[in-house]
Amino acid sequence: MSAAATHVARLLFRYVLRVGDLSLVLGQRLGEWVGHAPALEEDLGLANVALDLIGQARLLLAYAGELEGRERGEDEIAFLREQGEYLNPTLVEQPNGDFGQTIVRQVLIGAFQLELYERLANSADDRLAAIAAKAVKESRYHLRFSSDWLARLGDGTTESHARVQSALERLWPYTTELFAEDDLDREMADCGIAPRLAEVRAAWSARIDTLLAEATLERPRDRPYQWFGKRGEHSEHLGYILADMQYLQRAYPGERW
């Protein structure tokens, strides 16, 4: 491989981890609802979304392992990295809170995933494009589920409205990171592998405005933001998620299904 191609493969490895870790950590978080959701249907719904996310993460992390070329498989990458090596945005590691807070997080990140996958489906990288074309169909369905609930809760009782509005205020600052373009995002966009984040932001913003209006919720003001999970700088919550998620592989190294 030429030096330039090696350089792109190394960057692509990190980029694919960003996209894959988002699905992995969010899938793990949603899995915490199993057996605890307000109703059986919602239990099934959240578990099914989590399952699709884990499926996406498997495809992406397996690809990352190949790009890295150190013979690490999807399981090793998912279960044996340290906290600082995870590149998911901080939003997806935020606690589930009540059902309303989970739904708000799901709408914010689900709309982002949808806009991102729609564009990655046209990526110059064929493998990433194929994974995105598969995932985009699932993301569209997930967003229907979460936005239905956002409208029911936002346009519901005084109590439900107040709860989702306050969850929105709490989680909104974490969305800034999604669109904060850094060198990796820029280089990936320059070679046609990833979309420009400014374009994703515009589409996301318009979609979110429509969903918030339907749910009679008020869009919070943008505020200064300090977390950058996508660079490996996480909130305190990720460590607890990993402790839970990695337990089995740490306790029984190399154990397989």
Partner: protein
């Protein structure tokens, strides 16, 4: 034409290709009776997830399979079932590979598959014909409602009939 018939005075290359064709046909026939582990009314071929069966130059029969959903827990079981079926059919060395692109669509469920789903009590996907009402598989009333976008497997949603009040499953469009 069978491989045996082709040996009678036929040139060598069609003979090989006829044998290969018969092998592919045997593999398709074997896959056509493998039940989907979660919806046993359907075969894997009815479901449209078997994309191709191709003999490779090294003699291995390559079988391309697409997942319905990325997280479908049945994916691994399906691979094993395919391997067992091919072994049982005696088609020689075979390999199952995952095909991601183009992504599987519920439109690929065959007409036969749709009939089987309906007979099994699962309403088939509407796909392009989204204006068609979702009718209750028991009393056929179209006065039905969606009670959950997700059901017992990743590919189904839960609905309810407002006439006979029975719940039923609907195969999601994707």
């Amino acid at each position: 034409m069978t491989a045996a018939a082709a040996t009678v005075g036929a040139p060598a290359s069609p003979c090989i290709s006829d044998a290969a064709e018969a092998r592919v046909a045997r593999a398709w026939a074997a896959l056509g009776v493998v039940e989907d582990p979660e919806i046993p009314a359907l075969s894997l071929v009815d479901l449209g997830i078997v994309r191709f069966v191709k003999p490779q130059p090294d003699g291995v029969l390559q079988v391309g399979v697409s997942p319905t959903y990325t997280g479908c827990p049945a994916t691994e079981v399906i691979r094993q079932l395919i391997e067992q079926a091919l072994e049982g059919a005696g088609v020689g060395p075979a390999a199952v590979i995952h095909v991601l692109s183009p992504a599987w669509s519920s439109e690929w469920i065959s007409a036969e598959g749709r009939r089987k789903l309906a007979a099994y009590g699962i309403v088939p996907p509407r796909d392009a014909d989204s204006s068609r009402p979702i009718a209750c598989p028991r009393c056929h009333s179209v006065d039905t409602e969606c009670i959950s976008r997700f059901g017992s497997t990743p590919c189904k949603a839960l609905h309810r009939c407002r006439q006979c009040l029975e719940p039923f499953e609907y195969f999601k469009c994707i």
